[in-house]
């Protein structure tokens, strides 16, 4: 064996092994990116299929205008010609998307990219406020339930959070609006009961683990037990919930935006669905697919790191 082969890298492995490890990482990342892209494309295609083959695709409200003559009505129906062959349309769409052109919205008569850019800001603000508020409130209520272990507190907070689970999000937003409150916090009021419920159960489950009992027996302080032994145990599932709560927030944003007239992505999605606006719906599906995968992957990664640290 040559002296070069016996050269060690900083991890005390032979240099060849380090290169192999690096190549494995690249292959791993490439595979992840490929799966990411494939999942996104499949989601976009499935969304497009739903729209294209759903009822009312080629119908238009203008058809009911008695002033339009037969030629105009034919022209109206023919305007969907490009979208009839779904596969061809999707391939063309992807080709245009590569150049940044997401097409023109049929219902808004504006470039889809422009619509998404303007409306994404509104939705992100709404979701951001909602998620931050929801998690803060949910954890703020769950943690004392675990630390103080008072059944009465538990019962009161559970009933309180249960109340907010029972009010439709859009109604909540409208009530906030009419009470001159910030309607954008309706999402927070919608999310916190779920966060509270999951977090409470997970943290309580964690308190009953043997390692926590052992830590208590050793006389560790409550705070130390909570942050070093309880939280890390519950972290993976809490992080999974974090990823899912983003989806919940977006789902809640749709009726809130529709009913309270926030010009965000949710309202765009609803109007595009009613109008069978294929360019917008395909773009939105792809956007949501990317967003969902990114958030879920981030939460999975964070969970994996927590699990490794715990070991």
């Amino acid at each position: 064996m040559s002296p070069a082969a016996l050269e060690l890298d900083s991890n005390w492995l032979p240099a060849g092994w380090a290169r192999e490890k690096w190549q494995m990482r690249i292959r791993h990342i490439t595979r992840h990116i490929a799966v990411f892209v494939l999942t996104t494309l499949i989601a976009g295609f499935l969304g497009a299929t739903l729209v294209r083959f759903g009822p009312g695709f080629e119908a238009d409200e203008q058809q009911l205008d008695p002033r339009l003559d037969a030629t105009s009505i034919q022209a109206l129906r023919a305007s969907h010609a490009e979208e009839r062959n779904l596969l061809a349309y999707y391939v063309h769409y992807l080709g245009r998307m590569a150049t940044g052109d997401l097409g023109i919205s049929r219902s808004f008569a504006r470039p889809v990219s422009e619509l998404l850019e303007q409306r994404a800001k509104v939705t992100l603000q709404l979701m951001g406020a909602g998620l931050a508020g929801g998690w803060a409130l949910g954890l703020a209520l769950a943690i004392p339930a675990v630390i103080y272990r008072a059944p009465l507190y538990d019962m009161v907070v559970t009933t309180f959070s249960g109340f907010f689970l029972c009010v439709p999000s859009a109604v909540l937003a409208l009530l906030l609006f009419f009470a001159n409150g910030p309607a954008r916090f309706a999402i927070a009021l919608l999310i916190f009961p779920k966060v509270f419920r999951y977090a409470r159960n997970l943290l309580v489950d964690a308190t009953m683990q043997p390692h926590v009992l052992a830590a208590r027996a050793r006389g560790l302080s409550g705070a130390r037990i909570f942050f070093w032994h309880i939280v890390p145990f519950a972290a993976p599932q809490l992080l999974a919930l974090a990823g899912v709560s983003l989806g919940m927030a977006f789902g809640a944003a749709i009726p809130i935006e529709v009913l309270c007239d926030f010009p965000g992505i949710g309202q765009l999605a609803w109007k595009a669905a009613l109008a069978r606006d294929l360019p917008v719906l395909v773009s939105l599906t792809i956007l949501v697919a990317v967003f969902t995968q990114l958030t879920n992957s981030a939460s999975d990664l964070a969970a994996a790191l927590c699990t490794r640290e715990r070991r």
Binding site: A59, F108, L115
Partner: protein, 539 residues
Amino acid sequence: MKRLLLSFAFAAASLMAQWGGELRFCLRSEPKTFHPLQVEDDASETVRYLTGGVLIRVNRLTQALEPELATSWKITQHGTAIVFQLRHNVTFSDGTPFTAEDVAFTMRALMDPALHSATGDAFRSGSGEVRTMVAADDRVTIVFPAPVAGLERLFDQVPMLSSRSPQKDMAVAGPFVLDKYTPGYEVLLKRNSHYWKTDATGRRLPYLDAIRLEIQQNREIEVARFQRGELHLINSIEPEVFHRLSAQTPSLVYDAGPSLESEMMWFNQNPSAAIPDYKKAWFRSKIFRRAISASINRADMCRVIYFGHAQPATGPISPANRFWYRAPSKPQAYNPAEARQRLLQDGFHLEDGALHDREGHPVEFSLVTNAGNKVRERMAAMIQQDLEAIGIKVNVVTLDFRSLIERISQNFRYEACLLGLTNYDLDPNSQMNVWLSSASNHQWYPSQAQPATVWEAEIDRLMRAQASTVVREKRKQYFDKVQEIVSDEAPFLYLVTKNSLSALSPKLLNASPAMIRPQAYWNAENLILSPAQLASNVR
């Protein structure tokens, strides 16, 4: 008397007018286009109305034609041509002079076959080209291939475009001009400083500095904002809201009387429809249709759903349409007992309270309407109960609008439909594509190769006859006969004619809501904000 008082009030207000201020009200959706000739939605139509200068304007209050950019006009050549004498010293919003060439340019653009504009289609009376002849800067003749019924009124919908302006279709001749559009939020219109109209003192109108059109779909939020004083008017309000506001502050709301809008239902009479043959037989029976019509309590609908702000409809023309309306000689009265009797005589029979046809099929059908329209959903529920009383079961199905349109216009997979009728024009010629049996909007059985029934053939003949003459009285005679046939055969069951309901802030002066769209701001150039409002507008 009310109109006289309003006129006095208007005159007095004009004399004491305060200039300036920003009017605020809402659009119910985003405008799809600002091109005046490509307007297809309500929001775009609002912007077009406020910015467009037209040759002739229909006064929404008196229903009379008034000169605007044209000082006079004359229909010649047996209704195939119209000669306009244009107003002098008129310019577009960018200062470009308005001449006959602009009229010709506008008509050429409007009649472009590639445009497929509803406004343009209304002018198409026959095959052949529409020609324009510019005799002088202030005189133009437009010649059509065939007579166009109600020709002058159609120009109310045609805003003039400039043929020479570098701003192209953004140069307008109306009272306001588009200043800023913030997608999703609002459209801001500012005063057109080149607007030709002046007030009694000779000062150039409009009184208002600007109009802010905020995009707000939620009606409850719109009402709340109106009550808070953030909005000055709501052009059209729901009867429930009207009832609530009038209980709180009666001075805020205005009922202008019957509008041109009505609600109606019809049965699918298309022989190729994918519904059972025995149901087709029911729907094609005049006795069945009239019995259903007699079983629906329209008075209850007007009272319960519209709080008295509607009236039972008797035909396709609203009583507010003074010239064209004809009361039916045999009005359809609410009489479920008689309706049941007629059905029993026609071969139907009752079994355990449920009506069956002569073959033993229980009489049951579905009624589709568009989802999200609370008024129609309630009407459908009332029809359900009314028909249950005579042993007929109705299944109410609400569909999103596109699914509904696909069923009633394309695949005809429906049994009965409940929808509204909006007349854009007083002249029934605009409904030609509803009454002609070959037309696609002949809802109960569209696009017929040959008229399926004798009465439909007669309607075809009468509608073509009224379209081919320019003598108004003659046209009315023809259309009266159409109304009589429709009343007798009941292809459409007309339910209610809605009243025109608006809400107006007390800070808004000179407003006199009419029953034709746009009800509350049809005289936008004459609207005034009170001095107190102007003070609060100062930022």
